[in-house]
């Protein structure tokens, strides 16, 4: 017997709950050397920006204990090249595309949402709210509930009605539930939790910051407890809102942990750097883990850890 792995992101049905995380699966072409990307629940694209971006200088990455610090700076071809090359390629493979968007202002987000949903092809829009706001002196939108809500309201209004909008939130805020509520109230159909956490490493031998950009986003198993906590808290507060959980998932068991916390899909990020076959392996392991526990449908496991304890005192 194999488990029914189908899941939904709002009204969009996916064949399975394993996605690549934004900026961790390339354009899809890189991973297609190793496996058929249509086997993924969906491929989340790197954050698409209006103009092409060369990104940050090197070194861009530093290895930290059970983690990776990165400051790539969203190197990418820009929305025009994405629409003429990367997106058609993904669709041709039969893959589903969750398209991450990043802008420095509400107007940029609106323009991106419009351009990307003019034609069919985008399954879900994921709004990267950790991007620095040019109107707020570089403060990330995700740091503030009203700034996040403003972006989501505008994106929801600009995007085609049948493309769900997911807000990707940062974990380094005092109250992630408040930001999540604001985004859902602003029209987000779902949430993606979590983005990387700001961190820093110093090359002790050179006595210099390890990254050219000085600070970077920390990912990998080192941040997984943060992800589990955020998914848990948001699912407890907003049980009907679909959550794409992510943060240091390396195995099917890790994916199950996030699903038990309340995620209806799990995005795999840093694991793709460590193992190009990570996503299909994690999917297989997750299916085995569900089957071993007698769970027939992946959907049954969503938020299961929230059920009341059987041994609670009366």
């Amino acid at each position: 017997m194999s488990a029914d792995m189908r899941t939904r992101l709002s009204h969009v049905e996916l064949p399975n709950p394993i996605l690549t995380a934004a900026g961790c699966g390339g354009s899809g072409r890189e991973l297609s050397v190793f496996y058929d990307v249509s086997r993924l629940g969906a491929l989340t694209t790197p954050s698409i920006t209006l103009a092409p971006r060369a990104g940050r200088p090197t070194p861009r990455t530093a290895e930290t204990p059970s983690g990776v610090l990165n400051a790539v700076g969203a190197q990418g071809p820009g929305v025009d090249a994405f629409l003429t090359s990367d997106l058609p390629w993904l669709l041709q493979q039969g893959a589903r595309a969750v398209v991450s968007i990043a802008g420095g202002s509400v107007a940029e987000f609106v323009e991106l949402a419009k351009r990307l949903t003019e034609q069919p092809g985008v399954s879900v829009l994921e709004v990267n709210l950790s991007w620095p706001s040019m109107e707020d002196r570089g403060r990330p939108f995700a740091a503030d509930a009203s700034a996040s809500a403003e972006v989501i309201t505008a994106v929801r209004a600009a995007a085609r009605f049948d493309v769900p909008v997911f807000a990707k939130l940062a974990p380094d805020v005092p109250d992630v539930v408040a930001i999540a509520r604001a985004c859902v109230a602003a029209g987000a159909e779902g949430l993606s939790l979590i983005n990387t956490v700001p961190g820093m490493a110093i090359d002790v031998d050179a006595a210099r910051p390890a990254l050219a950009a000085v600070t970077g986003g920390l990912s990998g198993p080192a941040v997984r407890p943060l992800a589990v906590r955020c998914v848990w808290q948001v699912h407890a507060a907003l049980p009907g809102v679909p959550i794409v959980g992510m943060g240091g998932v390396m195995t099917g068991r890790d994916a199950l942990e996030l699903i038990l916390a309340g995620a209806c899909a799990v995005a795999v990020g840093t694991a793709n750097f460590q193992d190009p076959f990570a996503c299909p392996r994690i999917l297989r392991e997750l299916e085995e883990a569900l089957t071993a526990r007698g769970i027939e449908r992946a959907a049954e496991a969503i938020g299961l850890a929230h059920r009341p304890s059987e041994r609670q005192p009366r």
Partner: protein, 285 residues
């Protein structure tokens, strides 16, 4: 992909490991590399180590040998692998060295364990009737990799060490002009650290001959998804792009790699920070 360790041996300052990996051996072309996972299951080290392939043999269905230095993070764990242990490795990765169809005079320059990436190339070149001359070097004699093999294979093999403990005192790039002249070199191939590749490319340009340089250190995933290993490279259309040395390299034409701008985003690169760029001093995630 999993391979089985066949041999592990210490070669002066380096370790050489041979792994049974038929799928990699079968498809390998000189210049390509393997990306090794270190630390085993649940390892705290999440990035792969991209290493040049020293040798490929048909034994046991196909083996590959790679060389790593003792100061590579994770080298201790790698060096402790024993015969029949399994090893997680991905390859062959990257674009190979272009090999001329007709016989020409080739000068192969290697620094440190970068030399390891040159011997399969030399073999291929000689099969096509090309003449091969080696220039190998390092800081000291124990860090010159493959001097014996170079002497056996090459028409000539010139060695250089910075401390003078083997061959000429100096760097490989000090002796390179003389070797190109004596061998009437038509093309230079090189593998080594960035500073050495830069000088090799400059020397080749002085002689008005092409150079093909292979970046030795590939940091990150090795497969093109992590965007860590980018270098500023001038494309066919004259536009500079930040390209990944793991998938668009590790071999580049020397005159196309903007060595002076490595570690920066050149102002004229496609998508360089400008009017629509990020707010300086702030991070994007």
């Amino acid at each position: 992909m999993t391979g089985t360790v066949l041999t592990i041996r210490q070669v002066d300052a380096y370790h050489a490991m041979t792994v049974v990996a038929p799928a990699i051996a079968e498809r390998f072309r000189p210049g390509q590399f393997v990306a090794i996972s270190v630390g085993g299951t649940g390892s705290p080290m999440l990035m792969r180590r991209g290493l040049p392939i020293h040798d490929v043999k048909p034994d046991y269905g196909g083996t590959v040998e790679f060389v790593f230095p003792a100061d590579l993070p994770g080298a201790g764990w790698l060096a402790e692998r024993r015969v029949r242990d399994s090893l997680d490795l991905v390859g062959p990765l990257g674009r190979p060295f272009p090999v001329p169809r007709d016989p020409v005079h080739c000068v192969l320059v290697g620094s440190g364990y970068g030399s390891a990436g040159l011997f399969m190339l030399a073999d291929r070149l000689q099969q096509r009737g090309s003449r091969v001359d080696f220039v190998l070097g390092a800081t000291s004699a124990d860090r010159v990799f493959g001097a014996l093999r170079a002497r056996r294979m090459g028409q000539t093999a010139t060695l250089a060490t910075e401390d003078g403990s083997l061959g000429v005192r100096g760097r490989v790039t000090d002796v390179l002009p003389q070797v190109i002249e004596d061998a009437r070199g038509d093309v230079v191939y090189a593998c080594g650290p960035m500073a050495m590749l830069r000088t090799v490319a400059a020397v080749a340009t002085e002689f008005a001959i092409p150079s093909q340089v292979a970046v030795r250190e590939i940091v990150g995933c090795g497969t093109g998804v992590c965007m860590s290993c980018v270098l500023p490279v001038i494309g066919e259309d004259g536009i500079t792009r930040m390209v990944r040395s793991c998938v668009e390299g590790p071999v580049f034409r020397g005159e196309r790699l903007r060595f002076d701008d490595v570690g920066t985003i050149p102002f004229d690169a496609l998508g360089a920070p400008g009017a629509r760029g990020p707010v300086e001093g702030f991070r994007e995630r």
